[in-house]
Symmetry: C2
Subunit: 214 residues, 2 copies
DNA sequence: CTATGGTGTTACCGCTGGTAACCTCCTGTC
DNA sequence: GACAGGAGGTTACCAGCGGTAACACCATAG
């Protein structure tokens, strides 16, 4: 517990050159992940950066730390895109569509990175798993909030919001995952089908469920 | 490529005692996974079975083979339970509810095993990932089929069925995943919320989407 | 008595994540 | 100018992993 004095999340104001080197190392790591996929190892990343292992460990503590920092970069960017899409002008459906599309677009652009984060990194480091799932969950959260505000529903319960957010996030994520193996299908089609699934077209005519207590 | 003469899936009619030993080894592996979680290694499994590594390798080829065999066992059982739930008497909603409940019940009973299959094994061996996702996808498939048959919809397109199945599967899986970290919530609540999400209550009053071409 | 085949072992390989010790050069201070 | 000191970097190592080769120990079959 005495190691890792500065976590990957806190933007500790350190010597500027150190932060620069950190960025360089992360970019090298990104290159390796993009090239080698799941076979990215600390040795390979160090070699790509033109240095040796111990430096990596000095900067990131351990492998999980590097993965976490790596995930942070991509997740920050992804979150920015999702937020931009979610605050588009338009109805709830249009905004949802834009957001789902933004997510799938990100997957499409960097499938290797996406796979790495989703499979390797998430399996290796619990925090990364939380981060990766968190981004999609947050998206689901905002979506559920928007729903309760716009769809003239009673404010949805806490548990319901959480479960729905997680469910929606998983839905989009799984569809994106599957889509990776079916690159012949255009992105727009997948988006359309997901939107159709979410907005009514699935259970149409079967509202035979007593609303649970809350 | 010259090794692994018999895959984990084909029930090769070998010497019967060999199959028995195989079952013994798998049970030992299960015990280790349940006890050690992600830290289960070939050495540990061999030790638990009272033997040494090479025997494991003679039986399963490599680590992926063992994982695959392990996944097969659990997935077969899970699939049986899901099928039973899906063929319950009752309307589509009730059957869907039973199936989701069966899935979450399985997760609840053996969270360690579930986590292992979902994270470790799926990340390590591509085939396992396909298997694990496959089980939930198959469930989504049957559900989508049932939908198109019962809900008086036009027979849904191939792509739509695939995307929906994957999406529904991911939804339930993600919710179950999240639920693992919130054991305070009763299973029934999660099931109810998921059913509510699937059947109409989400997009109520926002059918403002032109049905894509198909 | 010998061949064969399954069950089991010990001992090794290359590689991984991770660490300790050392070296070097640049900076600031008396 | 001399000297501490602290980055930045290296080599050399560790335990453990997945995986394999080689050998030993019975059996049963001819």
């Amino acid at each position: 517990m005495e190691s890792a004095p500065e976590g990957a999340g806190l933007p500790t104001t350190q010597s500027p050159s150190s932060n620069d080197r950190r960025e360089q190392l992360l970019e090298a790591a990104d290159r390796v992940v993009q090239r080698e996929g799941s076979a990215a190892s600390m040795n390979l990343i160090a070699a790509e950066a033109g240095i040796t292992k111990p430096i990596l460990y000095r900067h990131f503590g351990d492998k999980g730390g590097l993965y976490r920092a790596l995930a942070d970069r991509h997740i920050d960017r992804l979150l920015a895109r999702l937020r931009a899409a979610l605050t588009t002008r338009g109805g709830l459906t249009a905004r949802t569509r834009a957001t789902v599309d933004a997510y799938l677009a990100a997957v499409e652009e960097q499938p290797q990175v996406y796979r790495f984060l989703m499979e390797r990194a998430a399996a290796e480091d619990v925090a990364v798993r939380g981060q990766v799932l968190g981004v999609v969950r947050r998206f689901g959260d905002e979506l559920a909030d928007g729903l309760s505000a716009e769809a003239a529903l009673a404010p949805i319960g806490e548990t319901r919001a959480r479960v729905w957010a997680q469910g929606i996030a998983g839905m989009v994520q799984a569809a994106g995952d599957w889509w990776l193996d079916h690159p012949d299908i255009p992105r727009g089609v997948v988006v359309d089908e997901l939107i159709a699934l979410m907005f009514g077209e699935f259970g149409l005519g079967t509202p035979s469920l007593g609303t649970p207590t809350a």
